[in-house]
Chain length 260, copies 3
């Protein structure tokens, strides 16, 4: 696989302070032809779990050879490692803090390298902004065709992390809310293939739903519903409303499905 010149960003840097723009400047200074695409720079500060999930939902929609840079990095400046990962179709650059856990889980084969070769860093390395000083220049050099092996030694003791799985019983599935999106939709870890749309009931907090619908429009305005969301998991939503606020549900809370 060759890099295709596309570099994506997934960070918690926000857009007020210029951090993301600076990283783009660094990249364009090294590879003027690179095309940077923002997946999100508005992750909740230091929320590795949210970053891992957004990356999981996004990366495979990019063309083969895309370089995904994920910087949610509360350990910046400590001795936490920085990884370059090459899977069959993509490259990833991220701290060794489990933000890539879905990538490791989804891919059968991949190479993991610890980024140590300062040839590919900026000359001065700050204590607080490795996005600028290490992640961006490494991504730029990678986009120019520098092989993954040049950035450092292969490692096997990186943090794989764990993917939260629902508990599956004879007539019941006990899952949880793993993400709340900007519309307030509550995304669970219960995948579509586990549920039968006709014969179930769904409960979360004080809300109980009689089954899955095919479209938001199947219920009245402001009413709650359950639906298979765009990433292939059961979601609880409120039509034209915000389920998180309206149903007072948080990430981590239990969602239970009972088969009749």
């Amino acid at each position: 696989m060759q890099p295709n010149g596309i570099i994506t960003f997934l960070t918690d840097f926000g857009d007020a302070d210029g951090f993301v723009g600076i990283m783009k400047g660094v990249i364009l200074s090294i590879n003027a032809q690179a095309k940077v695409v923002d997946i999100s720079n508005s992750l909740p500060p230091q929320d590795i779990e949210a970053g891992a999930l957004v990356l999981h939902n996004s990366y495979k929609y990019f063309p083969k050879g895309t370089i995904h840079v994920a910087v949610v990095d509360p350990g910046v400046g400590s001795d936490r490692r920085i990884l370059v990962v090459q899977t069959k179709n993509y490259f990833f650059i991220a701290p060794d803090n489990q933000i890539l856990k879905h990538i490791f889980y989804n891919n059968e084969t991949f190479t993991v390298v610890e980024v140590l070769n300062k040839t590919y860093f900026l000359d001065e390395i700050s204590r607080t902004f490795h996005g600028r000083d290490i992640f961006a220049p490494v991504a730029a050099h990678l986009s120019l065709g520098v092989p993954v092996s040049k950035f450092g030694p292969e490692v096997t003791d990186f943090e794989r992390g764990e993917i939260s799985q629902p508990v599956i019983l004879a007539k019941k599935i006990i899952g949880k809310i793993v993400h709340i999106d900007k519309f307030g939709n509550l995304i669970t870890n219960i995948s579509a293939d586990l549920v039968n749309k006709k014969l179930l009931s769904i409960s979360a907090g004080l809300t109980s739903l009689p089954g899955l619908v095919d479209s938001y429009a199947d219920v009245g305005l402001g009413k709650p519903l359950a639906i298979i969301g765009s990433s292939g998991f059961v979601e609880i939503s409120v039509r034209n409303g915000n389920a998180g606020e309206q149903l007072s549900l948080q990430r981590g809370e239990t969602v239970q499905i009972e088969f009749n």
Copy 2:
């Protein structure tokens, strides 16, 4: 008219969840040369009226042949239709929900097609994210030169919508606030050509103003004023302040102009 390779996005998807980045990935997977420009992805959730107005203010500043993708889509997954529209200078892709009403109003001739040809969709269509599964791939194929007629049959019974017009009386104009921008400026539906800058008074809520000014700097800091805004309509502002908050005025409220 040929597409020029530029595709714009106007959505309420925000930037926290990666929705917009995913759509860019889909487009680049089909047309690696496409150039995507965000008009806004921070429209108030499901606010079709705001989307229609921002599109109206924006689309004509792009080069001929630009493809504008507008996805404010509370009806996603229902049987609401998706339209491709070709005007003299631009292409538009949007749900059939009046978000294009100003486009229909501003253009004398245009072609409207219902998007039905699944050849140009992603293979799997989710119930909740047609931006990814339909809008983005259709835009990408359009940018490669696929003729509008290939996406589906021409239709004439689309939703034209209505443009809110002020009431014009002998010595008075009764309009309303149609948009509040991020600075808190109150944009009305009273166009510049309806008003004479010397001989009028303007009132909205509890605020009364003696006429139009030429510049924010014509009044003191923190003082209200009326001015012809950048889209050619009367706006009520507060110099270096937020008129919406300071004057407690909302979208939809009446603005009255009296000629002396």
Copy 3:
């Protein structure tokens, strides 16, 4: 120096109303090959001081020949001037309101021109959106190679502004907080070369710190610390927390360093 086709934006326009997208449309209509990169469009409204600092931290990470457009412009529509500035490595377009003060301070030689030549403006100039009508088209023409001198006469009486400097005493430095970033880090005007990391104590408000640390990880979660930040100045932070909120400190407040 020739322009390299890259144009950056630094504004307080936000992303809800399409202002930034419109400016990109104007640029692409004049130079279809231009590459626009957002440094930030989320500066606090009309906060020239924040804009000046973010620009200072960002501009030099872009390749030589980049055009930086900075529009924080409370004086829009008044007789405030618009400047094009050429330094050894970059171009800048901004209102004459001190947003470029660090640029003037950092560069030994530069040329400053007042933008007056309407040939390079849009045909119609609004009273409230010179970003669209003047800044964007001037940037686009500049990116095509139009010499700076074509935009108007050289001026020397522009607003240089003042860079806030700490007071340096025999055993004490009295500085202040000049910026609070999105993580709540408190950036001071005390540069790294003024402090000795072993032999000092740092106080701000009710917080007193025993010296500088090398990494956030050197203190416990939720604890305050002082560190040399990414722009080379002393910063006060809270590990995995928001120092601005937790320590109740604002921009402008005093930070005092005592040498033992």
